[in-house]
Assembly symmetry: C2
Amino acid sequence: MKQESISMMVVRRLPRYYRFLSDMEAMGITKISSGELAKRMNLTASQIRQDLNCFGGFGQQGYGYHIPTLRAKIGEILGIDRPRKAILLGAGNMGRALAGYTAFERKGLYLVGIFDADIRKVGESYGGLTVQHINNLTEFCKKEKPEAAVICVGPWAAQEMCGQLIKLGIRGFVNFSRYDILADHPDVMVQNVHIGDAMLTLSYQMCRAEELPETSQ
Amino acid sequence: MKQESISMMVVRRLPRYYRFLSDMEAMGITKISSGELAKRMNLTASQIRQDLNCFGGFGQQGYGYHIPTLRAKIGEILGIDRPRKAILLGAGNMGRALAGYTAFERKGLYLVGIFDADIRKVGESYGGLTVQHINNLTEFCKKEKPEAAVICVGPWAAQEMCGQLIKLGIRGFVNFSRYDILADHPDVMVQNVHIGDAMLTLSYQMCRAEELPETSQ
């Protein structure tokens, strides 16, 4: 399988397939046609067939997809069956919300430590983990060897932290900060979650929606 | 300006331009060439010129961009100067983290109410707002006329809520739930923030990065 050549556009849809299939499996549905899946996911049947063909195609002509098989296969591709150790940097509001996010391990990551520079947060417990002081980071990483980090600190702290984390063996980041990790470290893997950008994009859409009726006057 | 014809790919980059320009302005930088901006943003100078040309182009040949002007103009396009009233549904971990997100109003939205179905959460205060019971929603919306909603409830509650919210005049959603709003309501505006999808995509990237050295053996 030439999985390395699959476009990021297709890859980004995989978690969505996984969510839909998991929900259907939970409802006891075992079989679905590409047309029906397309309808539920607001895609075209042809797009679904193309997407899934990238990964070897799991459908059978005239039968459709066997949901548990397809879900398991996509889960395997996404690495859900072998979650990686991850640490969380920053026990502020967002960091605490994420630490309480119990579905972590079903997302391919497995939270093993929470760190903060603020001594007042050290010792607090979230999601079954106790917040440690950032000074423990090096020792902890050498012992636990986490592979991924979730960055929930401010942009300046993030810049400082990421350099250190990469030296400690972290190769993947889920980045909630404004800091652009790839600009300084092009060789690591980064998924940015810019909540503010989503709000701004919505704001843009709403402004345009207001303008449209005017332009048609 | 034919802003309605601008591709969502360009639109999605605008918040990022806005962030970079705001940071530079805060550092006292007033002028930048497209080449220098490209370097900082990990884009090409030609892409930057193309993107900004979509909005009328704000650069001057041989001078570059005047940062405060460009930032203000992009902010205006994004609707930052006229934030809209928004309500937050769900005062769980994520909802509370978002309510404490003080930069809300600089993101084109202005939080005016928080609602939850859990009576134990009613009366708690986050980000200067008191959590109200969901039963107050209709009356509140009729009075305050919020235009946008941030959805931080579970997928089943989200499905029920969104239908009600649309009837109450909400046209824009920032959706943190698994529920696919557009599948049922194609006429509203939705920005999805799927944190779990970002984690899964990172997991995928990390799996592939491990496989690549093997395939080159």
